[in-house]
Amino acid sequence: MTAKEVVELAKKGRAYAQRTKYKEAMAYYNKALSMDPKFAECWYLRASVLIDTGKPEEALIDCDRALALNQNYSDAWSKKALALFNLERFEDAVLAATRASTLNGNDAMAWYIKGVCLDELGRSEEAQVAYGKSLELEIIQDMDAERKKVRQS
């Protein structure tokens, strides 16, 4: 199987995941990973499904696999932060979210998770800064989406 075919499998899995058809998505991801275990993006995608289906421990393992292949994979750091948050490991989640937002300053989710976890740790002022940044990014994205909608109509 070629690299192109593996990417196709991951794409199909993603399409199913977006429609919350997680079982089918997992089947495609598993197949892709059995063909190419060094496919970092696919580990990340599988972690997303695992989080959405309430399996944060397994998601964390997949995030770590993705990060072992690419230490600078910002989305995987962000997903890892989410998995850690769901496991109530707030200190670790803050570190992962910080790493994600350092690699990609426009990751609204990473800033938000950081805010939520800091809040949980009682570090209110720091939480407000993270929330503020997350809100800024969300608003910019929302305004862009609105503009696109207006152009299309």
Binding site: Q18, T53, A108, M109, V116, L135, E136, Q141
Partner: protein, 341 residues
């Protein structure tokens, strides 16, 4: 509540509190094409198999924008649930007779407007007739939404200080969308209704402008698109935008409606403990405020307070209601095929 998505502390607390107080469950649902204001599918309005309420919000809202939508709909749910538990939860519905009364009044007002127009500007008769029921249902939707929206926003503002900046963004955005609504129909809709409709939204905005004080603004000034609002307080922002809309000469109606809104909502002690009694009191105030606004707009006999089921049923048969009302107004002039296509 069971969710895999991250939620800020005050929001989680609010959801738990809502579930406990109403003895119900809340599920959060992300949807790519969801209404930007979110949607509440609740057990007090719809026949649900389980005692589970669903809050739907746009998939792209991942952080505080999502949190605000949840806060707003939880508050709405609390008001509905309190009304259901302590009395009767009702909404403004309509019947065949009330549709007739509404359509007839709109038609008479439309005729007055048409008489003042030059021939080239007059509405084609078919279009005028079609407009009657559309406008009627528009007011039904708005009166079931606007007074509650003002109240819910005020409640969220007082109870959730941490999401005030997010709230401000939502309010600004909603205000703009509502302001734009109906603008394209400005020359079709009878002036009186155009002004009254805009007046309702103006009153809501001005009430919120007063409720959300200036110090909360300074939001997100790193956002280039928001920079033009720098150093303006909320009231100035909203007023400035309203003054640029076409209906501003009729501001007097909006100001009168604002007085009505103030008269009712100024009675609320927003920081009182969040008990069922408190939310029931909000419900009763909302009913009184809606009635007062309807009286002001002389639409009191257009709508009736009924259980939500009644309104859902009315929506199902609205085509028939429209047809019968138009027959009563126009008699044989209308032709038998009206409304069949």
């Amino acid at each position: 509540m069971k969710t895999e998505m991250p939620l800020s502390k005050p929001i989680r607390r609010l959801i738990t509190q809502t579930e406990e107080m109403l003895d119900t469950q809340i599920t959060l649902h992300r949807q790519p094409d969801a209404d930007p204001q979110g949607t509440l599918v609740d057990v007090y309005t719809y026949d649900m198999e389980k005692n589970v309420n669903v809050i739907i919000f746009p998939a792209q809202y991942i952080g505080l924008l999502k949190d605000f939508i949840i806060a707003k709909h939880c508050t709405n749910l609390l008001i509905k649930g309190a009304a259901h538990k302590k009395g009767k939860y009702q909404v403004l519905s309509y019947t065949e007779d009330s549709v007739y009364r509404g359509l007839r009044q709109i038609y008479l007002d439309a005729l007055k407007d048409e008489a003042r127009k030059e021939d080239k500007d007059k509405l084609p008769v078919k279009k005028l007739i079609q407009m009657l029921f559309i406008l009627f249902t528009h007011f039904n939707d708005d009166i079931n939404e606007v007074p509650w929206n003002a109240m819910i926003n005020a409640s969220v503002y007082h109870r959730m200080p941490k999401i005030r900046k997010t709230q401000l963004y939502h309010v600004m955005k909603e205000s703009k969308n509502d302001m734009d609504e109906m603008m394209e129909q400005e020359n079709i809709v009878p002036r009186r209704y155009f002004v009254l409709n805009k007046g309702m939204f103006y009153a809501r905005d001005m009430f919120l402008a007063k409720t959300l004080p200036a110090d909360e603004l300074m939001p997100v000034l790193n956002i280039p698109q928001m920079k033009k609002f720098n150093h303006l307080e909320v009231k100035e922002m909203l007023t400035t935008r309203w003054t640029h809309t076409a209906w501003y000469q009729s501001k007097v109606f909006g100001d009168s409606m604002l007085e009505i809104v103030d008269k009712h909502l100024d009675l609320v002690e927003w920081n009182t403990p969040p008990t069922l009694d408190h939310y029931y009191e909000l419900y009763q105030l909302g009913v009184n405020l809606s009635n007062h606004l309807l009286s002001y707009m002389t639409m009191k006999d257009w709508f009736i307070w009924e259980e939500p089921k009644h309104l859902l049923k009315a929506h199902e048969v609205k085509g028939e209601y429209e047809k019968q009302a138009l027959k009563k107004i126009f008699g044989d002039l209308l032709g038998d095929s009206w409304g069949d296509t």
